[in-house]
Symmetry: C2
Amino acid sequence: MPADEFRKYGYEVVDWIANYFEHIDEYPVLSQVEPNWLKDNMPASAPENGEDFGTVLADVDRLIMPAVTHWNHPNFHGLFSTSTSSVGVFGEMLTAAFDLKGMLWRTSPVSTELEDVVLDWLRQMMDLPEHFEGIIYDTASVSTMHAIAAAREKAGFSIRDKGMSGRDDVPLLRVYCSEHVHSSIDKGVITLGLGLRSLRKIECNDRFEMIPEKLAAAIEEDIAAGYKPICVIPTIGTTSTSSVDPVDAIADICEKYGIWLHVDTAYAGSTAIVPEYRPLFKGWERADSIVVNPHKWLFTPFDLSVLYCKDLSVLKDAFSLVAEYLKTTGEQSVKNGMDYGIQLGRRFRALKFWFVIRYFGREGLIARLRDHCRLARLFASWVEASDRFELLAPVPFALVCFRACPAGVEDLNALNERIMNDINTSGEAYLSHTKLGDKYTLRLSVGSIRVEERHITKVWDSLNRHLAEGGVA
Amino acid sequence: MPADEFRKYGYEVVDWIANYFEHIDEYPVLSQVEPNWLKDNMPASAPENGEDFGTVLADVDRLIMPAVTHWNHPNFHGLFSTSTSSVGVFGEMLTAAFDLKGMLWRTSPVSTELEDVVLDWLRQMMDLPEHFEGIIYDTASVSTMHAIAAAREKAGFSIRDKGMSGRDDVPLLRVYCSEHVHSSIDKGVITLGLGLRSLRKIECNDRFEMIPEKLAAAIEEDIAAGYKPICVIPTIGTTSTSSVDPVDAIADICEKYGIWLHVDTAYAGSTAIVPEYRPLFKGWERADSIVVNPHKWLFTPFDLSVLYCKDLSVLKDAFSLVAEYLKTTGEQSVKNGMDYGIQLGRRFRALKFWFVIRYFGREGLIARLRDHCRLARLFASWVEASDRFELLAPVPFALVCFRACPAGVEDLNALNERIMNDINTSGEAYLSHTKLGDKYTLRLSVGSIRVEERHITKVWDSLNRHLAEGGVA
């Protein structure tokens, strides 16, 4: 594409995005199309000849937009509310333009070293000890998989070289987490060939926090049965309720038995930069590895997940392989990103995060996280003050678990599911749910860079209206 | 960021990129900085307060650019020459702006369905049978890992549920590939807990192609030893030399023994859209899975790798898990991307590829691939006609393996290594190398969307000059 044409259409795309961000809360949060709408409206085959980019961009409005669920909408409160900042978009523009593959230092000095710089900045902001060194992956699923792989290797059965099939000298390896963990841990053990059988889920208290005594008892029991505990994964900010497992007490247990401690704080880890939230992280400085996702709650476009390790060389021991075509000379002291995981080529993800940190500054990031937590507590206070709603879990960060519980309704689960589906279908806001015990629980996550008090008020009004519309006054 | 500011800086970033692409061949291909240059020039900590984005953008010139190795430079001929088109950059801009996480259909109808649409377009362009269904991952390493995971599950030992540790009923599982495969296969078996021991590398002929008789003999031998062959991975376009394993003959063997056939054509697969190259792909239509990377040679920014499966439900059987917070109602018939692999959230990668296909059209893509292959053959013809250089492998696609071999030089390996390092250090071009037998082999890969005949001429001149400068006339 000639430079003039690139400028012309580039400006149009910038205008398009500016307009999108400016009017984002006028869109229905959840896409209103039926399954197969997009497929049915697309040509069956690729065009034979190239088309003008103007035509393509017009089709973004015509075909793409109706099928978008707007994650950047300030009323996207489902799952975890994540969002990109404007500077994050600029970062992705340049990353795409460089299009480098960060495998070796020499094929991408900028990517390798900027990654170290921004991860050390984040480490300092989160007040983690200096011995933690980080590496960027795409998602928390992949970060956690690598952490468990490191634990598997450290367990001492030469699994990297000999594997686990055709052997009878590898006992059942066990990984422990609470009942409320993210499904990524299940997928991690599946991928690594440990299987779901290797994952033992530990009971929680009524605040949805792992009970350390139950963990210790499970480990004792497993050791007595001849099994080998290799990894414990407490979560700070679980997916269901954002509950906080007692990491310090769990670290004592890991230390006693020599087990790898991996802390999953993919969602809530960002708040460790806010001084008054640090007590919730007590004990994480004793971890072997920690996952935190700037793409979740630090306004960085998806994807960018960080794995911090006490000793990153364990990952290198587990994964490093240097094929002849990747050997370089004279750079023995440099770090080659490809040595620390399954991916050879790695996107230049550090750039967008560097933009975010510089544009907002430490204080700017802290202010936004504080405000999100304030808004969540405000919403929780309305729930508590109401006699038609109730809180179902503590609110340590910016996620509120609650339900409607008007007097005289027998099937509260059906009621809450109906209310959630009505709101989601209307496009006013997007909520998700979980099950706590047998209770269908609504989840309101506050985390968008565009969220203001009026958006939270809107959800509260909407909930009350949809409750009333269902015939419950 | 206010919309006006977004427009202002967005235009500046567009201008920056336009200028970069326009002048890209004036930069040294390989970054000229020493290790730690970037780190030494960065502040030790994050800024306390936010900075104007103009300051940050100025630092891109001052701090980022010197440390960039320019993968988009038309004289980047190392590894595989990959590049992004301009419209690919526009795709990443919008993907970042939407910032959606394609886990469930409902959280991203657009991502789920556009992925199916463009992968079916590509399938048709490559003339693969209709039963192949695709899924997008980040890299070929991850695609291949999933293919082997599917093979592992299909082998029938319930590894997803029971794993491989603490069992004596899983025989040694074997994966077969040639001596010239990509390191991603080694990493795949490491990750999956099969270990390097499970990977058996089969001897090649003097054209670097797997010898089917050797494969059959290895399988027979393994079966006799009580091992279980689970997967054979021939490559169409190996990393070292772009050689083509005889897939059709290998498919016969896989059929006979009931073994999963995974075809790695991450690099060369793109050329299957060019009719006259299709004979090289004979037999791939019999595969259980195929990996091809549009981010390598279809002008799509990194990352976008595609895994096609004859029966995608095998992947779902191996990986699907639905946590309560991910359950949705009324959409039983939709495809949820998260069910097909380890990653829960998945970037909206299909958009950039849709842009690329529409902007270039089938004919436009074919024309560019044809031209790259023509340029590689042209360069190879110069090598063949010279008495100071020789070809070391056939040139089926657009990669030339060669070396300098002037009369009277004893240590040709040292000579070629010196020439390559001189050229790379000079910044004129970037070449990489491999070892073929005991021969240090130079590799020239042609694949940039910006490459013209003059760039190839420049490398040839540079090689001859650097050869002469070393005192070999």
